[in-house]
Structures are given as C-alpha cells and as structure tokens.
C-alpha cells in the first residue's frame, strides 16, 4: 500500500463527476430561479438544499475514499439490511408526497431511502456473486440473487414508486457480464419487444406477428442446423402469445390509467397535448426550442414559465436542452458516456470479483437512469419518474450516486492493493 489514496485516484473520473454535479447545480438554479432567489446558501431554496447535499456528499466521499476497501465487502450485508429496514420503516414513519410514501422527513429535510437502497443492493449483489461457492449458472444462486433484488423492488413498488423500482432491472447488466445464460438475454429482449408490440397493435395482429417471427426464426435455424426440432419453437410461440395476452390483460386491468397514458404517449397512440401528453410535449418544446446554442443561462422561456412540470427534478434535461441547446445536451450525453464507459473499463481491470461486480452494477444503474430519464425528456421512453444522476434536484439522489461513485473510486484506487 503506497502513500495516500489521493495519489492513486482516477482524477479524470472525479472530474467528470464534478462536471456533472456542477452542471446539475447550475441547471437546478435556473429551473427554480425566481427574482427573489438568494443563491446557493439559502437553504429554503431548492438550489440551496441541493448545494448543501452536494457539500455533504463530497464530505462523505472523502470519508469513503479514506476507508479500507475491504470494509465495504464486510459491510455489504449490513448495509443491505439497513436499507431494507429503512424501506420498511416508510410504511410507519413515511411521508407521503404526491401519492407515494417514499420519504422520511427529518427536520425539514426529506430523505428517500429507495435511493440508498440502490447502492446497498449493488454492494449486496456483488457480495453474493463474489462468494466462493456462488455460481451464476446454478438456479440456486440465481434464485438467491433474484430474491435480493426483488426485496427492495417490491418494497419500493408498494410505496408506490414503480419508477424507482424499475431501475433495479439494471442488475441484469452485471449478471449478464458475470455469465448469466444467454437465454435470459433473449427472454429479457423478447419480453421488452413483445411488451411494446402487444401494446402497439391489436391482439390479432400481434399473434400474427409472433407466429410469423417464430416460424422465420425456425427456418433460419433449420438452415443452420438441420437437426433442430420444431417443438421448442412451438413452445416459445405459446409462451409469447400467452405473454402478449397477459400484457394486454395487465395493461388494461392492473395498470392505472396514468401508467397506460404514459406508455400510450410514447407509442404515439394518444396525442392529447393538453392532457396526459402535456409534460412530454412541453419538454420536447423546451428542448426543441433550444436550437444549437440554446437560449442562454436563465433565459429559457419554457423553464422560466414553469411549462415543464418537475423541471428541476425529472425533467432537468429539458432545461439543459433549452438553455444550453444542442451543445449542452451533447456535452451532457458525452459526460455520461464517458462516466459509464470509464467505470466499466475500470471494472474490467479489477481482479477482485466483488469490486468488479459492484462497479459493473453501478455502471448499469447509472445507465438505466440515464436511458430512462433523458429518453423520457426526449419523448422516447414512457414517463417514469426517476432522476438524472448527479444532475437532477434531490438530496437523497445526489448523496446515493455520490456514494456509488466514491466507493467505485476507492475500489479503483486500491485495485492493486489489499485484495
């Protein structure tokens, strides 16, 4: 172990992180700007709170960097347990905001445990998989992992905050990386595409499409391998049709109207821009009107006029698109790519399995947030209320993602030590 962790830090990654949080603060400031704003140090203002959480996050970050990497491996189970307790505690002590009991309110500062559950689950999954006896190919291990992901998932669904729960799907990425059977990828992708096909077309057409696709696949495989049997395809066909039917059923009977609306808008089935399509439409207008250069800091008319709801949180990208234009949007997407790819690159270099799976897990988490949040602002993904990491307003979010990054930075800095 050499002198100090700070000499082994990946300063580039830290810089990307700092660029993102700074850009975030700037845009939260703009999105919540009013003539009476006092600035960064006014704790009654959104941007003041955000700034406070950022400073707090950096403070925690420094502590994390100075902790021995092994601590996190040992701490994983406890951390996971605590985060589950916090999620459970919501049902008793939770604070309900716009229908979801997702917050603790401590002295005027809200805290959202589902954010922390993300990093805790990432540590837990990594810990599980890196265990000596774990084999991702065995159903036993898979079941165990599934259970550990589904615990927080269901607790969050029950809040109800299905959006935040959905991001736990991100753990597919580290699992797949660690050798999850290809069939799961096929199932994962099939489920996703079937879901959208089913919702886009009438049931009869969907059945037709499925039959056509599966026979096409069968004949392609038959060409490649004449010995292949037809029955697995028929089985797959039945499953697909059954799934499609149940999607229809779930969509019509289980989903609430607002969920249906959100999906329908992305599918282009409903274009009620005054009603349910309002958010997405306004967000697109904000981004589209930014042009190449944007309208300038604090100059966004959509932003100032509060046309886009939740603009400082979930729709922060519309502020960026409007005020910083294509250049700002491009820059942000570039930063995220750099961040995710660098984490993956560093994860791949890890010799320690726990640390590799952890880092890969948080790359997946960041990616899912990035994908859903920006996709939603651009009107390409249904409205799912999750923040843009590091950028959106939200103390718990910035704290949780900062912890994720600093743990990763710790692991990366100590890659060659104490494993």
């Amino acid at each position: 172990m050499s002198k100090s962790v700070f000499f082994r830090l990946d300063w580039l990654l830290l810089l990307v992180y700092l660029a993102l949080v700074t850009f975030g603060i700037v845009n939260v400031y703009s999105a919540t700007f009013s003539e009476t704003s006092e600035g960064l140090f006014d704790l009654t203002q959104a941007v003041g709170k955000q700034f406070f959480f950022l400073i707090f996050s950096l403070f925690i970050g420094i502590i994390i960097l100075s902790v021995n990497s092994k601590f996190f491996e040992q701490f994983a189970s406890l951390g996971y347990f605590i985060s589950l307790l916090l999620l459970l505690g919501l049902f008793v002590f939770g604070n309900t905001v716009s229908g979801a009991t997702s917050w603790y309110n401590i002295g005027g500062i809200s805290f959202q445990p589902s954010e922390l559950a993300k990093v805790a689950t990432a540590l837990m999954i990594a810990s599980l998989l890196s265990k000596f006896q774990s084999d991702i190919q065995t159903p036993r291990t898979l079941f165990k992992i599934g259970a550990y992901v589904l615990f927080p998932f269901f607790l969050i669904v029950l809040q109800p905050d299905p959006g935040s729960a959905l991001v736990f799907g991100a753990f597919f990425f580290p699992l797949f990386r660690e050798g999850l059977n290809y069939s799961y990828l096929i199932i994962f992708l099939s489920v996703l595409s079937l879901f959208f096909i089913t919702l886009s077309f009438p049931f009869g057409v969907v059945v037709g499409i499925i039959i056509l696709l599966i026979f096409l696949l069968y004949f392609i495989f038959k060409k490649l391998n004449p010995k292949i049997k037809i029955w697995p395809f028929l089985f797959f066909l039945m499953i697909s049709i059954g799934f499609s039917f149940s999607v229809d059923y779930i969509f019509d009977n289980v989903f609430q109207q607002r969920h249906r609306d959100r999906i329908n808008i992305v599918l282009g089935k409903e274009v009620d821009i005054q009603g349910v399509g309002y958010n997405i439409n306004q967000s697109k207008i904000a981004i589209g009107s930014g042009g190449l250069k944007g309208k300038g800091f604090l100059e966004g008319t959509q932003t100032k006029g509060d046309f886009v709801p939740e603009q400082h949180t979930d729709y922060i990208f519309s502020t960026i698109g409007e005020e910083w234009g294509f250049r700002g949007g491009f820059f942000l997407i570039f930063l995220f790519c750099l961040l995710i790819l660098r984490i993956i690159l560093q994860a791949e270099k890890q010799i320690n399995k726990f640390r590799r799976i952890y880092s890969y897990g948080i790359a997946g988490l960041i990616f899912i947030h990035f994908f859903i949040n920006i996709g939603m602002s651009l009107g390409m993904v249904p409205t799912i209320g999750i923040p843009l990491p590091f950028v959106s307003y939200g103390g718990s979010s910035i704290l949780a993602f900062s912890i994720m990054i600093f743990i990763h930075l710790n692991f990366d800095a100590n890659r060659l030590n104490d494993w």
Partner: protein, 621 residues
C-alpha cells in the same frame, strides 16, 4: 466477448440515438421555437393616449379619462364559472358567453375586449379575483372626456370598431376604438397615433412574469397628436346657446384664412352620453330621433334654398358680365309680371326706382329678376350659354360642389345649368322667365350653410376665398398644410358696390337690427319658402329665417351664415343671431343684452310641432 461489450455497446447506442434525437429536435426542426414562443410569449397591444382636441386659443374641448377593459385570449381560457364571473363583471351571462364566442371567431391567440369601459371601482373588484380566470386580464384604457358639452357633431365621437371597420383596415382589432364622424373620424390617424406591441414572458398559468427578452421585440407606440382646431370655443358655445330651442345652423369663417370659427348645428346632444357602458343605448335614441335629427349636421349637410342673400351673387355676376352697371335701375310696382299672368311679389313700395345699391338693401325681387334675366339672356351667345356662364361663376364661389373641408360629411348643394333645364323642359322649351326664381335664390338652387358662409367670405375678401377648414395645428408642428387662395371669377372692382349695398342692408335696409355700435356690418337677409310632405301632401311651412354677414366692412374678420329653420323672415332670428355672434367675436362681450335675451329665450318649438299636431295650422304667423 459479447458479455464484456454488451453494456458499453448499449450505452454508446443509446448515446447515439439520443444525439440523433437531439439533432432532429433542436437542429432540424424549427417548429419547436415557434411553439415555445407561443407558449411563453404573450403579445399585448399598447395604445397611445388618444390626442386631446383644443380650440384655436388652446382651450380644451376633448380630453380622456381612464377606464379598464377586460381582455381575453380565447385559447387560454379555461373552464370557469360563467355565472360567478358575470356577476363580478356586472354583465349578463349570455352577454359574456356571446363576447367570448365573438372573440374566438376573431382570433384564438390574440386578445380581444370582452367587457369594455369598466369603471375604476369595479376594476378594483375584478382585479382581486381575476387570477381565478385564466385567459382574462385587465387592460387600462381611456375614454373621451368632455369638459363642456359642445360641438358634438363637429367633434364626432369614439366607439368600438365594427366587423366592417376591421375588414377595411386590418390595423384594428376587436374591441378597439375608432373615431366616428367629425374631427374624430377625419383626423383619426393623428388622434389615435399608432399602437405599439409589448411582448411579455408568461408562465404556464398565463401570468406575466416579466418582459420578453428585455423588450427586444417590442414595438413602441407612436404618439398620438393633440389637435388645435380653428374653432373658437367661446364663440361656438355662444352660438349653441343662441340656438337653444331652435333648429338650424351657424357657420362663421375667418375670411382671410378660411378658418372656421364656429360650426353650430342645432339641435345637438351632449357628447358625453356617447361614452361608457350606455353608449349604444343613447346612440340609438339619437339615431331614432327622425324629427329633430340631432346627429344630422345641418351646417354641413342641410341643403336649403339660398334665398335673398343669393341676390348679391347675381349682382356680382351681372356686373362682371357687363349686363348692368351700378347705376342700372329698374322700377318696382310691389313686384312685377315676369310673364303673362306670372307675378313676382316684392316688398318695395309701388313706384320705387332702384339702382343696384338700393335694390340690395331693399332686397328688391323685381330688380334682381330683371338682372338675372339679363344675365341669362345676354351674357352668352344664347340662353343656354348664358345659363352656363352663370353656373360657372357660381361654381367659382364653391357652390354646387363639395368645399373640400376636413370633415367627413357634406353635401354638394345644387346649381342648375343649361343641361338641367334642357332635360326638364326640352331644348328650347325654357326661357329666362321660366327660371327666374333663381334670381332671388329660390327655384332649383340648393346650398348648405357652410357654402353660404364661404361665399360670404369670398365677398368679404373682394374676390377670393380660402378653403374652409377646421384644423389649425397639431401638437408636433408637423402640419404644413397651406391653403391656397381660390379666386372667384369676379373681378375685385365689382365687389365694392355690392358690399356697399350689403352695408346699407344693415344701416338702413332689412337688417337694421343687426347694427353694432362702432362696427360696420355688411349683411343680407333672406326669407326662404320651404315645403315638407305631410301625409303625402306637399305643404308649405313657415319660411326659414336666414342671414349672411361679414364685419368689419373694410377689414373683415368674420363672415357668417345663419339659418333658422321656420324662423320666418330673415331679420327676425337669423340677423340678430349673426349680429350677436359678430359682436361677441369682435368685441369679446355683448352689450345688447335685450337682444341677447330675446334670442336666448326665443323658442320655435311650437313651430316645429305644428306639422305633427294633426290639426290644420297657419304658417308665417
């Protein structure tokens, strides 16, 4: 390998798709900019305060007072409680709905006035509650304010534009104001100025949250002009007072400039009843008064026979054509036979021998009948030629056509020519005797009071007039209109005899009542026969009392024409009124209180009611 590169590939693919989407939204599609502007920018018109109107001595005639208009942008109106809102507004629910519908058909994006002219008190109430009604807002506006009730027809009024106005001139939007009639209409462009535009940034509740891009796109309004009229407020007011309970008009002109000093049309109305919420109701009342016709500007629009004052013009034409000289005389036997069995009466004593001067001050019909017949018979090669020469001379005095003054209404009057008589009597079917009524200003001739005043000014000027006009100056001094002298076809040397005759009219003739101590007044009375149809029967009514005059004789400062409908003979009403006006104008105050009182208190209402009484009545009593 696939496992390792799956997430990086998905990440990169996502980034590429997002950037592609950004390119299509931000760089390739320009419609979002417009959408965002439509979202966030509200365009308000700002109006310059309508110009004030002053008289020639900078005394205020018309100013403004503040009121508030409730505006709405239809596309922003949300569902609201119409009943409650209409209560707050003090308008009926149906009216409110109708107005919103109308606004919608005009434009869904542009603001329209829903309820106009809200008083200051009600404005305070609405101001408090308007946040409940998105799409509506209050706009300060102003309406006309009249310090004194004066010259309503001359000034005109202001009212909301109609669909037609908007079609004619797309400057106007629903609910805006436009000048109507008189000065307000004619000088609309000066008075209204040019509205500007102000762009505001609004939020999603349509609340204005500041100016848009620091007012970069604002269009400043262009200032309205104050107008300074040629009218003399004191004189105008005096004229209107003198005309109370009478019908008719006064036109007083400053001969050297053509400036109209006063333009009285009676009966009139109080202009302040045509502002505010009761405007249309009051307007309807005025418009439906077909008997008194208060909206009819008699001094500009009423065409009367010119009567005896017209003899002065015939005298001038005869002198110019050389068919008489000033000593030419004719004898009068209380009138004369101008054709077999056709007698024209006269007030002269039997055996009176008149020369031109005495013929004027005695207003001898016989004399002028002879003069006129000489003009028609001898001025040209034949009778038609003579008739047309006469016609041309009259036209040079501004008769028979519009004078071109700066008010939107007027009448041409009528001066017959040879074609006219050829049409009625066939070619060669008429002689000078046939048309002899023209000699004394009866017959086919028609003139408006302002035409009368104008030719009086031409006589006062000894041969020219300047187009009568009403605007003296505007507030920016940019008015550089020069009115040229319009020479009449009569040489100036011929005027002195006629003017001397007109002086004698006042000194010793028919209008001695018009004498003013220390001022040489020249005038000519007239008593004009007139008819109206009562239940389809042409019935003669009491004569119109008319008088033209100018003073002082040698340096005329005022030329005036007065018509008093059914006032009987000229010296009875018209001459005293004209004389009082002259005295008022030249000396500033009227010493002849007894005459003033008689005029102020005199009423012709009984005369005007005669034809509607349903009973037989006597005229000229």
């Amino acid at each position: 390998m696939i496992r390792r590169f799956f997430l990086p590939a998905v990440t990169l693919l996502t980034a590429v798709v997002f950037i592609g989407r950004l390119i299509s939204l931000q760089l390739l599609n320009s419609s979002y900019k417009l959408l965002s502007d439509g979202n966030a920018v509200i365009e308000n018109s700002i109006y310059p305060e309508r110009g004030y109107i002053y008289d020639r001595n900078q005394k205020l005639l018309v100013s403004n007072q503040p009121v508030y208009d409730l505006m709405a942008i239809p596309e922003n109106i949300a569902v609201f409680d119409t009943l409650e809102f209409s209560k707050i507004l003090g308008a009926s629910k149906a009216e409110l709905k109708e107005k919103i519908k109308l606004a919608r058909t005009f434009s869904v994006k542009l603001p329209s006035i829903i309820v106009g002219k809200i008083s200051r008190e009600r404005n305070a109430v609405i101001q408090e509650k308007i946040w409940k009604y998105p799409g509506f807002f209050l706009q300060k506006n102003s309406v006309r304010n009249y310090p004194i009730s004066l010259a309503s027809n001359l000034l005109g009024y202001v009212s909301e534009v109609t669909k037609n106005d908007m079609k004619k001139d797309n400057y106007y939007h629903l609910g805006e104001l436009i000048g109507r009639q008189g000065i307000e209409e004619y000088y609309e462009h000066f008075l209204r100025g040019k509205k500007g535009k102000k762009f505001y940034q609004k939020d999603r509740f349509n609340r204005i949250i500041g100016s848009y891009e620091d007012g970069k796109y604002d269009v400043p309004m262009e200032g309205a002009q104050n107008l300074y009229l040629t009218i003399d407020r004191e004189l105008q007011q005096y004229g209107e007072e003198l005309f109370q309970n009478k019908r008719g008009g006064i036109v007083a002109i400053e001969p050297k400039t053509g400036e109209v000093l006063s333009l009285v049309s009676a009966p009139s109305y109080d202009p302040s009843i045509l502002i505010g919420r009761k405007r249309s109701e009051n307007y309807r009342k005025l418009a439906l008064d077909t008997l008194a016709k208060p909206l009819f500007d008699r001094s500009l629009q009423a065409q009367y026979a010119p009567g005896s004052p017209f003899k002065s013009l015939n005298a001038l034409i005869a002198l110019q054509e050389g068919v008489i000289d000033k000593e030419t005389s004719f004898s009068c036997q209380k009138g004369h036979f101008y054709a077999r069995g056709m007698f024209m009466g006269c007030h002269c004593r039997p055996g009176t021998n008149n020369n031109l001067r005495s013929a004027i001050y005695r207003s001898c019909n016989t004399y002028f009948a002879n003069v006129y017949r000489r003009i028609v018979d001898r001025a040209g090669e034949n009778i038609e030629d003579g008739m047309n020469i006469w016609n041309e001379h009259l036209k040079s005095f501004g008769l028979g056509n519009y004078l071109g003054y700066d008010l939107p209404v007027g009448k041409k009057g009528f001066v017959p020519d040879a074609d006219y008589y050829n049409h009625w009597y066939k070619k060669g079917g008429w002689k000078s005797a046939t048309v002899v009524s023209n000699a004394i200003g009866q017959g086919e001739l028609l003139t408006t009071p302002i035409q009368m005043a104008n030719f009086t000014a031409a006589i006062a000027n000894r041969g020219y007039f300047i187009q009568p006009h009403f605007l003296k100056a505007i507030s920016t001094d940019s008015l550089k209109k020069v009115y040229e002298k319009k020479e009449t076809s009569i040489d100036s040397i011929h005027f002195e005899t006629v003017i001397d005759g007109m002086y004698q009219v006042v000194e010793r003739g028919t209008a001695r009542i018009a004498q003013i101590k220390g001022i040489e007044v020249c005038g000519k009375t007239g008593t004009v026969e007139n008819f109206m149809k009562i239940e389809g029967v042409k019935t003669q009514m009491t004569d119109h009392s008319i008088f033209i005059a100018f003073a002082p004789k040698d340096d005329p400062k005022i030329a005036i024409a007065v018509y008093v409908e059914n006032g009987y003979w000229g010296a009875r009403w018209a001459a005293p009124i004209a004389s009082l006006m002259i005295e008022k104008h030249l000396t500033g105050n009227v010493k002849r209180k007894w005459l003033e009182d008689r005029m102020l208190n005199g009423s012709l209402i009984a005369e005007y009611e005669k034809p509607y009484s349903g009973k037989p009545f006597v005229i000229n009593e």
